[in-house]
Structures are given as C-alpha cells and as structure tokens.
Amino acid sequence: MTLTPSVSDQQFETILLRLESGESLRSVQLDFPVLAADIEALQDLQDFFAAQRSVAKPDPQGLKSVLRQVNLLNQASEDDELSWGSFFSRLSRSTRLALPALLVLGVSGYVWQSQIPASNLDSLPKMNFAGTNNSPIPAMVGSVELDQPNTSLLEGDSAMDMDALVQSLSNEFASEMADFEQTKESLEPLFSEQLFSFVPNSTL
C-alpha cells in the first residue's frame, strides 16, 4: 500500500464518501489508481462497520480486523516522502479510523463490565458504608449492634413462652388434681359405709 503525497484531505474525504454512498470499489479505484490498495482497505473497513451496525454485540474478530486495518493504514511506506500533505493525510486517516476503533473498544469494555457478577459489585457500597461510618471495625460493630436486639427479642419470646408453659402445666395439673379429689370423695362412702351394721365372724 502506498500513500502518495498527492492525496489531499479533500481527496480522502471524497473517496470515503463515495465508498459510504455505496459506489463500487472498482469505480473509485479507477478514479484514483495510485490509491487502489488504500481504497480497498477503506472498503474493508466500511464493510466491517456496516456489519457491526447490524449486530447487537461487537465481534472480537471484527475488532482485531479493525486493529489490523488501522495498523495497516498507519504503516508508512518506505518510499513515502515527508510532506505537509502526507502528514495531514495520515492524521486525517488515523483520526477517522482510530475513533471508530476506540468506540468499539469502549462498547466491548462496557459489555465486559456488565458481565461482572453482581456480588462483586455489591461489595462497593459496603466499603463506602464502612468508610463513612468512621468505625475502626465497622462490620464487627454493626454485627454486634444487630445481634443485641435480636438476642433480647429471643429472650423476651423465651420468657413469654416459659410463662405460658408454666401456666399451662399448672392448669393441667390442677385440673387433674381436682378430678382426683372429686373421685376420691365420691368413692369413699362406697367402701367405708357399713349399711347393714354387720361384723362377720369366723362362724359364718
């Protein structure tokens, strides 16, 4: 690939616009025969970005292709001559090609970051909370403060349950005791009273 000093920014813009408008690669190359290789590389980029716009996720292979294309365009030809024209031409190309690449990198990075487990992200607010608490051991202090009311609550429930248990057992025992006393009182006359006033003796 060669970038001749005769290629101006306006020419580069023209080539890019004609490629983006859908004009055939061959037709553009005919108008700029000395830039045939560069025009072909630009067409590849156009195809790549068109493909990228049609898919939801960035393609890592496509990203590599972009990088390869950028490096390809940035590679200076050994026979290139340093001139203001070539300098601006390279700058313009680099800017136009590097910005989409950075955009793709940014999108890829965003997608990658969104796939980080939520548990890892949850640790961030905790650290901030610990930091604003101005406590040397915020987690330990927090746990103690949280356990304290729970413990007292459990003790309260336990006390209530124990009182209810004692009351229930006491009532049941009292009920059975009353039943025992009632039975005893009702049975005593049956076997203690001698209705016929007779004392048996051995002669009978």
Binding site: S158, A159, M162, D163, L165, V166, L169, S170, E172, F173, E176, M177, D179, F180, T183, K184, S186, L187, E188, P189, L190, F191, Q194, L195, F196, S197, F198, P200, L204
Partner: protein, 141 residues
C-alpha cells in the same frame, strides 16, 4: 288379746325392718351404679382395668340381689364382700389417677433438665415442680 297385740307389734316391726333393708339395698345398688359410672368415665383407663372393674361391680350387684332374697345374715355377709370389692375398684381408680399426676411431675422434671441443658431459665418450672410434689405428698398423707 294380749298375745294378739304382741303378734301385731312383732309383725309391724318386722315389716318396718324389711322396708328399711329394702331401702338400704336400693342405696347399695345405686352406689354400685355410681361406681360403675365412675369407672366408665375415667378417661384413658387401660381397657383391661376397666373391664376388670366393671366385671367386679356387676358381680357385686348380682351378689347383693341374691342375698336380699335370702336372710339378713346372708345380706350382711354379702355387704362385707361387696365393700371389699368396691374398695379394690376405688383404689385402682385412685391409684391410676395418682399415677397420672406423678407422671406429670416426672415429665416436668425431665423437661427442666432438657431446658437447663439448652440454657433456659427454668426457675419457674422448678418452683412448679416443687409445688406439685408438695400436693402429692399431701395426697399420700
């Protein structure tokens, strides 16, 4: 005339005594029925004990009816036998109810040990157990 009056008086006393015995027999029968009802009303009494008690009551009722048709000596002897049988049944019922009360205390003591091992405050349960035991001692006295 004198002998006629004495004979009439003797007959009157005899009929009065017979009527009094009949009342006593009815009272004894009602007591047996009361004992029968008590046996049947005792919840969770073992079936064998219940059958045994009801059979003794039924036998006692037959013995009383049989003796009432004979003489007073036979009736008095039957009463002694019936009273002994009633005492057996009553003692069985009371011992069963007392055993249930003792079982409650035993269960409570086991509960106290369990709760103490779990770290609970069992002072109220211990006081209740002591109170129950005092009541049982009063029953035994």
């Amino acid at each position: 005339m004198k002998y006629l009056i004495l004979g009439f008086g003797f007959a009157l006393i005899s009929s009065t005594a017979q009527a009094q015995y009949e009342d006593l027999i009815d009272l004894k029968l009602s007591q047996l029925s009361q004992l029968e009802d008590t046996v049947e009303a005792t919840n969770s009494l073992p079936q064998a004990d219940s059958d045994w008690a009801l059979r003794l009551v039924s036998d006692s009722r037959e013995i009383l009816i049989q003796a009432s048709s004979e003489n007073i000596e036979r009736l008095q002897a039957a009463e002694v036998e019936i009273n002994q049988t009633v005492a057996k049944v009553a003692a069985r019922l009371l011992s069963y109810k007392k055993a249930k009360l003792m079982s409650r205390i035993t269960t409570l003591d086991a509960m106290i040990i369990q709760y103490q091992s779990e770290g609970f405050d069992t002072s109220d349960l211990e006081a209740l157990s002591q109170s129950m035991k005092m009541h049982m001692e009063h029953l035994g006295s």
